[in-house]
Protein backbone atom coordinates (compact mmCIF):
# COMPACT_ATOMS: atom_id res chain seq x y z
CA UNK A 1 0.00 0.00 0.00
CA UNK A 2 1.19 3.51 -0.72
CA UNK A 3 2.33 5.40 2.32
CA UNK A 4 1.10 8.75 1.08
CA UNK A 5 -2.14 9.90 -0.45
CA UNK A 6 -0.68 9.66 -3.94
CA UNK A 7 -2.68 7.42 -6.23
CA UNK A 8 -1.64 3.88 -6.89
CA UNK A 9 -0.83 2.79 -10.40
CA UNK A 10 -2.92 0.00 -11.81
CA UNK A 11 -2.11 -2.46 -14.54
CA UNK A 12 -3.65 -1.46 -17.85
CA UNK A 13 -4.14 -4.33 -20.21
CA UNK A 14 -2.32 -3.93 -23.51
CA UNK A 15 -4.75 -3.58 -26.40
CA UNK A 16 -3.90 -5.71 -29.42
CA UNK A 17 -4.87 -4.29 -32.79
CA UNK A 18 -7.60 -6.34 -34.41
CA UNK A 19 -6.90 -7.28 -37.98
CA UNK A 20 -9.75 -5.58 -39.79
CA UNK A 21 -10.65 -6.82 -43.23
CA UNK A 22 -7.63 -8.87 -44.09
CA UNK A 23 -4.73 -10.84 -42.81
CA UNK A 24 -2.14 -9.05 -40.73
CA UNK A 25 0.97 -8.60 -42.83
CA UNK A 26 3.45 -8.96 -40.02
CA UNK A 27 4.07 -11.74 -37.57
CA UNK A 28 3.30 -11.46 -33.91
CA UNK A 29 1.01 -9.21 -31.95
CA UNK A 30 0.76 -5.49 -32.51
CA UNK A 31 -0.56 -3.26 -29.75
CA UNK A 32 -2.10 0.19 -29.67
CA UNK A 33 0.19 2.23 -27.46
CA UNK A 34 -1.34 4.45 -24.81
CA UNK A 35 -0.92 8.12 -25.55
CA UNK A 36 -1.43 11.55 -24.08
CA UNK A 37 -1.97 14.37 -26.54
CA UNK A 38 -1.37 17.85 -25.22
CA UNK A 39 -1.90 21.07 -27.14
CA UNK A 40 -0.40 24.42 -26.29
CA UNK A 41 -0.37 27.63 -28.38
CA UNK A 42 2.74 26.57 -30.32
CA UNK A 43 2.58 22.82 -30.72
CA UNK A 44 0.77 19.57 -30.17
CA UNK A 45 2.80 17.03 -28.20
CA UNK A 46 2.11 13.32 -28.31
CA UNK A 47 3.49 11.11 -25.52
CA UNK A 48 3.33 7.42 -26.34
CA UNK A 49 4.24 4.52 -24.04
CA UNK A 50 6.49 2.19 -26.03
CA UNK A 51 8.19 -0.09 -23.49
CA UNK A 52 10.92 -2.25 -24.95
CA UNK A 53 11.29 -0.25 -28.15
CA UNK A 54 14.82 0.66 -29.22
CA UNK A 55 15.39 3.86 -31.15
CA UNK A 56 16.32 1.89 -34.30
CA UNK A 57 13.12 -0.13 -34.13
CA UNK A 58 10.86 2.90 -34.20
CA UNK A 59 9.58 4.42 -37.44
CA UNK A 60 7.77 7.74 -37.55
CA UNK A 61 6.40 8.55 -40.92
CA UNK A 62 4.12 11.26 -42.35
CA UNK A 63 2.08 10.35 -45.41
CA UNK A 64 -0.79 12.38 -46.81
CA UNK A 65 -1.50 14.22 -43.60
CA UNK A 66 -1.35 11.08 -41.47
CA UNK A 67 1.40 10.41 -38.98
CA UNK A 68 2.23 6.72 -38.59
CA UNK A 69 3.96 5.35 -35.56
CA UNK A 70 5.30 1.84 -36.04
CA UNK A 71 7.59 0.02 -33.65
CA UNK A 72 8.81 -3.52 -33.23
CA UNK A 73 9.94 -5.21 -30.03
CA UNK A 74 12.41 -8.06 -30.02
CA UNK A 75 11.39 -11.29 -28.33
CA UNK A 76 13.24 -12.61 -25.27
CA UNK A 77 16.25 -14.86 -25.95
CA UNK A 78 15.37 -18.40 -27.06
CA UNK A 79 17.12 -20.13 -24.16
CA UNK A 80 14.99 -18.30 -21.59
CA UNK A 81 12.26 -20.68 -20.52
CA UNK A 82 9.12 -18.70 -19.65
CA UNK A 83 8.05 -19.55 -16.11
CA UNK A 84 5.28 -17.02 -15.82
CA UNK A 85 3.75 -14.52 -18.19
CA UNK A 86 1.58 -11.52 -17.42
CA UNK A 87 2.19 -9.55 -20.59
CA UNK A 88 3.04 -10.40 -24.17
CA UNK A 89 5.84 -8.80 -26.11
CA UNK A 90 4.72 -7.23 -29.33
CA UNK A 91 5.08 -4.26 -31.62
CA UNK A 92 3.11 -1.04 -31.56
CA UNK A 93 1.21 0.87 -34.17
CA UNK A 94 -0.90 4.01 -34.09
CA UNK A 95 -1.98 6.64 -36.58
CA UNK A 96 -2.74 10.30 -36.03
CA UNK A 97 -4.29 12.53 -38.60
CA UNK A 98 -2.51 15.86 -38.64
CA UNK A 99 -4.71 18.07 -40.76
CA UNK A 100 -3.05 21.08 -42.29
CA UNK A 101 -2.29 22.96 -39.12
CA UNK A 102 0.95 21.11 -38.37
CA UNK A 103 4.28 22.12 -39.86
CA UNK A 104 5.36 18.60 -40.82
CA UNK A 105 8.89 19.78 -41.66
CA UNK A 106 9.53 20.66 -38.02
CA UNK A 107 8.28 17.55 -36.23
CA UNK A 108 10.78 16.37 -33.62
CA UNK A 109 10.92 13.20 -31.55
CA UNK A 110 12.64 11.98 -28.41
CA UNK A 111 12.60 8.48 -26.95
CA UNK A 112 13.38 8.19 -23.25
CA UNK A 113 12.63 5.46 -20.70
CA UNK A 114 10.27 3.78 -23.17
CA UNK A 115 8.23 6.92 -23.82
CA UNK A 116 8.18 8.71 -27.16
CA UNK A 117 7.66 12.47 -27.01
CA UNK A 118 6.66 13.76 -30.40
CA UNK A 119 6.47 17.52 -30.82
CA UNK A 120 4.28 18.66 -33.71
CA UNK A 121 4.77 22.42 -34.13
CA UNK A 122 1.81 24.33 -35.50
CA UNK A 123 2.13 26.00 -38.86
CA UNK A 124 2.85 29.72 -38.49
CA UNK A 125 -0.57 30.72 -39.80
CA UNK A 126 -2.21 28.61 -37.07
CA UNK A 127 -0.48 30.20 -34.12
CA UNK A 128 -2.52 32.64 -32.09
CA UNK A 129 -1.49 36.19 -32.76
CA UNK A 130 -2.40 39.40 -31.09
CA UNK A 131 -3.34 42.09 -33.52
CA UNK A 132 -2.80 45.56 -32.33
CA UNK A 133 -5.46 48.11 -33.11
CA UNK A 134 -4.15 51.26 -34.61
Amino acid sequence: MATTDKRELEVTEKKPIEASGGEPTRQGITYTPQVDIVEDPNAITVYADLPGVKRDDLVIDVREGVLWLTATVGAHPDHWQPVHREYQEGGYERRFSLGDRIDTEKISAKLENGVLALVLPKAEAQKPRKISIA
Partner: protein, 152 residues
Protein backbone atom coordinates in the same frame (compact mmCIF):
# COMPACT_ATOMS: atom_id res chain seq x y z
CA UNK B 1 -6.55 -2.78 -4.22
CA UNK B 2 -9.78 -1.36 -5.55
CA UNK B 3 -12.12 0.33 -3.14
CA UNK B 4 -15.57 -1.19 -3.47
CA UNK B 5 -18.66 0.62 -2.28
CA UNK B 6 -20.38 -1.10 0.62
CA UNK B 7 -23.83 -2.23 -0.45
CA UNK B 8 -25.80 -3.60 2.47
CA UNK B 9 -28.44 -5.04 0.13
CA UNK B 10 -25.87 -7.23 -1.62
CA UNK B 11 -26.19 -10.76 -0.30
CA UNK B 12 -23.52 -12.21 1.88
CA UNK B 13 -22.60 -14.91 -0.62
CA UNK B 14 -21.48 -12.51 -3.34
CA UNK B 15 -19.38 -10.68 -0.78
CA UNK B 16 -17.83 -13.95 0.25
CA UNK B 17 -17.08 -14.69 -3.38
CA UNK B 18 -15.50 -11.29 -3.84
CA UNK B 19 -13.37 -11.84 -0.76
CA UNK B 20 -12.21 -15.16 -2.15
CA UNK B 21 -11.48 -13.52 -5.48
CA UNK B 22 -9.46 -10.76 -3.78
CA UNK B 23 -7.53 -13.31 -1.73
CA UNK B 24 -6.78 -15.35 -4.83
CA UNK B 25 -5.63 -12.17 -6.59
CA UNK B 26 -3.29 -11.23 -3.74
CA UNK B 27 -1.87 -14.73 -3.57
CA UNK B 28 -1.36 -14.86 -7.32
CA UNK B 29 0.37 -11.47 -7.28
CA UNK B 30 2.84 -12.62 -4.64
CA UNK B 31 3.44 -16.14 -5.96
CA UNK B 32 2.79 -15.56 -9.65
CA UNK B 33 4.41 -18.75 -10.91
CA UNK B 34 2.17 -20.93 -8.71
CA UNK B 35 -0.56 -20.83 -11.36
CA UNK B 36 1.42 -23.29 -13.46
CA UNK B 37 3.89 -22.98 -16.29
CA UNK B 38 3.34 -20.02 -18.51
CA UNK B 39 -0.11 -19.37 -17.15
CA UNK B 40 -1.33 -16.05 -18.43
CA UNK B 41 -2.55 -14.22 -15.40
CA UNK B 42 -3.79 -10.66 -15.42
CA UNK B 43 -2.50 -9.04 -12.27
CA UNK B 44 -4.15 -6.15 -10.51
CA UNK B 45 -0.90 -5.02 -8.97
CA UNK B 46 1.41 -2.86 -11.08
CA UNK B 47 3.71 -3.67 -12.77
CA UNK B 48 2.87 -6.75 -14.83
CA UNK B 49 5.74 -9.26 -14.69
CA UNK B 50 7.20 -11.91 -16.93
CA UNK B 51 9.52 -14.47 -15.37
CA UNK B 52 12.02 -16.51 -17.36
CA UNK B 53 14.51 -19.17 -16.33
CA UNK B 54 17.77 -19.76 -18.20
CA UNK B 55 18.82 -22.76 -16.12
CA UNK B 56 21.03 -20.79 -13.71
CA UNK B 57 19.31 -17.48 -13.32
CA UNK B 58 15.76 -16.20 -13.16
CA UNK B 59 15.05 -13.15 -15.24
CA UNK B 60 12.13 -10.96 -14.24
CA UNK B 61 10.95 -8.31 -16.66
CA UNK B 62 8.38 -5.59 -16.10
CA UNK B 63 7.21 -2.88 -18.48
CA UNK B 64 7.53 0.45 -16.70
CA UNK B 65 7.51 3.10 -19.45
CA UNK B 66 8.00 6.64 -18.26
CA UNK B 67 9.38 5.58 -14.89
CA UNK B 68 12.75 7.17 -14.20
CA UNK B 69 15.13 4.37 -13.13
CA UNK B 70 16.12 6.64 -10.23
CA UNK B 71 12.54 6.32 -8.96
CA UNK B 72 12.65 2.52 -8.79
CA UNK B 73 13.71 0.66 -5.68
CA UNK B 74 14.28 -3.09 -5.60
CA UNK B 75 14.65 -4.98 -2.35
CA UNK B 76 15.36 -8.64 -1.77
CA UNK B 77 14.53 -10.42 1.48
CA UNK B 78 15.31 -14.11 1.23
CA UNK B 79 13.57 -15.23 -1.96
CA UNK B 80 11.07 -12.39 -1.90
CA UNK B 81 11.54 -9.39 -4.13
CA UNK B 82 9.84 -6.05 -3.72
CA UNK B 83 9.68 -3.49 -6.50
CA UNK B 84 8.65 -0.01 -5.49
CA UNK B 85 8.49 3.16 -7.48
CA UNK B 86 6.65 6.08 -8.84
CA UNK B 87 5.74 7.19 -12.31
CA UNK B 88 5.76 10.94 -12.69
CA UNK B 89 4.36 12.46 -15.87
CA UNK B 90 5.37 15.89 -17.13
CA UNK B 91 3.01 18.65 -16.04
CA UNK B 92 1.48 20.44 -19.00
CA UNK B 93 1.98 24.20 -19.10
CA UNK B 94 -0.69 26.66 -18.04
CA UNK B 95 -1.79 27.27 -21.64
CA UNK B 96 -1.97 23.59 -22.53
CA UNK B 97 -5.00 21.37 -22.79
CA UNK B 98 -5.36 17.62 -23.17
CA UNK B 99 -6.90 16.10 -26.29
CA UNK B 100 -6.33 12.65 -24.99
CA UNK B 101 -5.23 11.31 -21.66
CA UNK B 102 -4.68 7.57 -21.53
CA UNK B 103 -1.56 7.41 -19.38
CA UNK B 104 -1.56 7.36 -15.59
CA UNK B 105 0.86 8.55 -12.97
CA UNK B 106 1.18 7.16 -9.48
CA UNK B 107 3.06 4.98 -7.09
CA UNK B 108 3.46 1.25 -7.23
CA UNK B 109 4.68 -1.56 -5.02
CA UNK B 110 4.75 -5.23 -5.81
CA UNK B 111 6.21 -8.13 -3.85
CA UNK B 112 6.67 -11.63 -5.16
CA UNK B 113 8.46 -14.79 -4.13
CA UNK B 114 10.67 -16.73 -6.49
CA UNK B 115 9.84 -20.40 -7.15
CA UNK B 116 13.34 -21.54 -6.10
CA UNK B 117 15.87 -20.16 -3.61
CA UNK B 118 17.98 -17.38 -5.09
CA UNK B 119 21.29 -15.86 -4.08
CA UNK B 120 20.02 -12.42 -3.20
CA UNK B 121 23.54 -11.03 -2.80
CA UNK B 122 23.99 -11.37 -6.56
CA UNK B 123 20.80 -9.79 -7.84
CA UNK B 124 21.31 -7.38 -10.74
CA UNK B 125 18.66 -4.82 -11.65
CA UNK B 126 18.60 -2.59 -14.71
CA UNK B 127 16.20 -0.57 -16.77
CA UNK B 128 16.39 -0.41 -20.57
CA UNK B 129 13.90 1.40 -22.82
CA UNK B 130 11.24 1.42 -20.13
CA UNK B 131 11.61 -2.25 -19.22
CA UNK B 132 12.89 -3.18 -15.77
CA UNK B 133 14.98 -6.34 -15.74
CA UNK B 134 16.10 -8.28 -12.68
CA UNK B 135 18.60 -11.12 -12.84
CA UNK B 136 18.36 -13.46 -9.90
CA UNK B 137 20.92 -16.27 -9.82
CA UNK B 138 19.88 -19.56 -8.22
CA UNK B 139 21.16 -20.08 -4.72
CA UNK B 140 24.04 -22.57 -4.52
CA UNK B 141 21.79 -25.17 -2.90
CA UNK B 142 19.24 -24.86 -5.72
CA UNK B 143 21.79 -25.43 -8.51
CA UNK B 144 21.80 -28.67 -10.41
CA UNK B 145 24.78 -30.73 -9.39
CA UNK B 146 26.34 -33.88 -10.76
CA UNK B 147 27.11 -36.41 -8.08
CA UNK B 148 29.81 -38.95 -8.66
CA UNK B 149 28.67 -42.46 -7.94
CA UNK B 150 31.19 -44.55 -6.10
CA UNK B 151 31.14 -47.94 -4.58
CA UNK B 152 30.14 -47.67 -0.94
Amino acid sequence: MAIIRWRPEADVFSQWERMQHDMAGMLAASRPWAGGDEATFRPEVYPALNIYDDGETFVVRAEVPGVDPKNIEVEATGDTLTIRGERVLPEPGANASYHRRERDSGQFRRSFTMPKPIDNTKVIAGCVNGVLELRLPYAEEAKRRKITVKAL
